[in-house]
């Protein structure tokens, strides 16, 4: 049928399909950045009892873009470390839009160390446009702070679960994302650069951000298919902000399951298993043979599953 259509129409059909995929992916981007999307503290409130927030890097700074604390989660004490965006203008400035400085990652590291020492499993919540790109941040060693935060996570003896709850933007996100299990909320995104950044660099035009997003596919589904996240956590219909309590319950269930399954693994192998997990990531050709691709095929047009 399709082959009988005159060529220009076939092109049109393909373009329409592409346009549809583009808008689906862009919808995900917009939902992930939605103003009323729940943030780390919204989930912490609902997930744990006896919450105590911990502050500061113990070296002179408390970065408000990263929040941390300990609380009781379904029978065990856990530590939560996550990015925190602001709800209104004032809070956004206070939280620096969820963009951490090097001191924020130092704060994360010190809470990781505390949790590791005291045997609290660690849950991280990723929701940031990226690490803050500022002069002082660079002079304070932003790059090294991110690398060291990742390194600190690879060494932990306690179970770790990372949850992408909104925007997983680049190294600033991954800095707290090197965990035994990586969960991703259905309508969140995870990418190496923002769609705007990608459009600016590759298209030389920030207005091509929809195209950029469609090309690099930052959605939960693709991240799952590429083996980067272990579980995609369903959200209430319309997005987590429509029913925050339910979203938190769903996330809590997924975190609980993940912790159970990690705790079932031998402790002495935990670090090696975690390393092996990230060691496998990537897709490449070796002597002409494709390596690393998961069994299910990718849909190249990026159309959502039927």
């Amino acid at each position: 049928m399709n082959s009988r259509l005159p060529t220009p129409f076939r092109g049109l059909r393909r373009r329409l399909a592409e346009r549809a995929a583009e808008s689906d992916i862009w919808e995900a981007v917009e939902l992930a950045r939605h103003d009323s999307r729940p943030y780390t503290l919204d989930y912490a409130d609902r997930l744990v009892d006896d919450w105590i927030e911990l502050h500061g890097d113990r070296a002179g700074t408390d970065d408000h873009a990263i929040v941390s604390g300990v609380g009781s989660f379904r029978g065990r004490t856990i530590a939560i470390v996550g990015h925190q965006k602001g709800r209104d203008l004032k809070e956004r400035a206070f939280r620096n839009f969820g963009m951490a400085q090097p001191q924020g990652y130092a704060k994360a590291r010190r809470v990781f160390a505390l949790a590791d020492r005291l045997g609290f499993p660690i849950v991280t919540m990723i929701d940031t446009p990226g690490a803050y790109p500022g002069v002082e941040a660079e002079q304070g060693g932003q790059a090294a702070a991110i690398a060291q935060s990742m390194l600190a996570m690879t060494r932990l003896r306690v179970p770790t679960v990372a949850c992408v709850i909104g925007e997983g933007g680049s190294g600033g996100a991954l800095a707290i994302g090197v965990a035994d299990r990586v969960l991703m909320l259905e309508h969140s995104i995870y990418s190496v650069i923002s769609p705007e950044g990608c459009a600016t660099i590759l298209w030389r035009d920030v207005n091509q951000r929809r195209k950029a997003a469609a090309a690099f596919k930052p959605t939960a589904r693709f991240s799952y298919e590429l083996g980067v996240v272990d579980t995609v956590v369903a959200e209430p219909s319309g997005g987590a902000h429509k029913d925050v309590d339910r979203a938190a319950r769903l996330l809590g269930d997924a975190i609980g399951q993940a912790l159970d399954s990690i705790e079932a693994e031998p402790v002495e192998q935990r670090r090696a298993l975690r390393r092996a997990k990230f060691r496998r990531m990537g897709v490449w050709l070796e002597d002409g043979v494709l390596v690393g691709e998961k069994e299910h095929d990718l849909d190249p047009a990026g159309l959502p599953a039927e």
Binding site: A131, Y132, P133, G134, V135, A137, E138, Q139, G140, G141, Q142, A143, A144, I146, A147, Q148, M150, L151, T154, R155, S170, G171, L174, A175, V178, Y190, S191, V192, I193, G197, C198, I201, L202, W203, R204, D205, K211, A212, A215, F216, K217, P218, F222, L226, V228, R271, R275, F278, R279, M281, G282, V283, W284, L285, E286, D287, L290, E293, L298, P300
Partner: protein, 354 residues
């Protein structure tokens, strides 16, 4: 003050850095550079960036001295007039650092796939084959075992001219294998990086290479094997924020741009005038982010020195071109080497290995 950052840079940058800055601008946008000229202007007429001088790659951007190719190679691609460091390709870097004939490549058969079927203005696969033809390399990183000033090591070098030295699955895998070889054999790892960051065309998989390479360094550190990271111009984004930052020793070439976010992004986000030496090796040194700024002609002796110190003075220098023995991993290997070396001299002179 013009809003355009290019213009700003050329005004505020001191003469010494302006060449490197131009290179850095090319660096961040290397992949789009050619499109801008050939394709994109036809498609979308929009504000033209101010015309930039197109210099011959062998013309010094600082003092305009021109070099013939063999002349430039002979002086390690450092301008003899003003000391500007030209970019060095991956293979030439190996020639500069490794003892002649000692380099034994590993992981040569790896090529990038296109898991996302990524197309921007051109398909990713097209950019890849273009880079392969232009550089003669399989991807932006090569690795192998070698000796530097007689000291055995695993050496990885990056090529900025391969898609901006960007890190995708292949770069991550080659680094990881190189690091694993170093960990297994108990010989130090040396990496020379030059990269715009993670490869956007592989999006999330490229991001994960940061975690993957960090895990590799973790194993290396657990095995007690030293890692020396050399940062060449430019080392930015996902590369400096992962393995390149984690060297036990981190040194850089003069004038190299070493920042997580590029100057343009920082300028646009903060709307501040950036300091003239923003992100430069010298500034990083002042802020305690790197151990030393080393000129290119001193790099090999410096690496030799570091490797000798790491070995506690007990490593037996290999014959150039000789095979590297494969002792058991980590501490055991070093102890074995220490015991072997003691036959040739007093083992107590340098305190021995840890």
């Amino acid at each position: 003050m013009p809003a355009n950052s290019d213009h700003l840079e050329s005004r505020t940058a001191p003469q010494r850095f302006s060449g490197a800055r131009r290179a850095c601008r090319v660096a961040r946008d290397e992949e789009t550079e050619d499109i801008q000229v050939e394709v994109e202007r036809e498609e979308t007429p929009r504000e033209q960036p101010p015309a930039r001088e197109k210099l011959h790659p062998n013309t010094c951007p600082v003092c305009k001295s021109h070099y013939r190719e063999d002349e430039l190679r002979a002086v390690l691609r450092v301008c003899t007039v003003c000391g500007h460091h030209f970019p060095v390709g991956a293979e030439e870097r190996v020639e500069q650092l490794a003892d002649p004939g000692s380099f034994r490549p590993l992981a040569e058969g790896l090529r990038s796939a296109d898991p996302l079927a990524f197309t921007d203005l051109r398909p990713y696969t097209e950019r890849l084959s273009e880079a392969e033809v232009a550089t003669g390399l399989g991807d932006a990183l090569i690795a192998g075992t070698a000796t530097i000033a007689g000291m055995p090591c695993v050496l990885c070098t990056m090529d900025f001219s391969f898609m901006g030295g960007s890190m995708g699955s292949v770069v991550g895998e080659i680094f990881t294998r190189a690091s694993d070889v170093a960990a297994e054999r108990g010989i130090p790892l040396v990496s020379v990086t030059s990269s715009g960051g993670a490869r956007m065309q592989e999006n999330i998989l490229a991001l994960m290479q940061m975690a993957k390479t960090v895990c590799a360094v973790d194993l290396l550190q657990e095995s007690g094997v030293p890692y020396v990271s050399v940062l060449a111009h430019p080392t930015t984004g996902g590369v400096i924020a992962s393995f390149a930052a984690l060297g036990d020793f981190v040194v850089s070439e003069p004038g190299a741009l070493l920042s997580f976010a590029g100057p343009r992004v920082v300028q646009e986000t903060t709307r501040e005038t950036l300091p003239a030496d923003f992100g430069r090796a010298e500034s990083s040194f002042e802020h305690g982010l790197i151990d030393a700024v080393v000129k290119r002609d001193e790099l090999k002796p410096k690496l030799g020195q570091i490797l000798r110190l790491c070995a506690g003075g007990t490593l037996v220098p290999m014959e150039p071109g000789g095979e590297i023995a494969a002792p058991p991993p980590g501490i055991v290997a070093r102890v074995l080497r220490f015991l072997r070396s003691s036959q040739h001299g007093d083992p107590h002179t340098n305190g021995g290995p840890a």
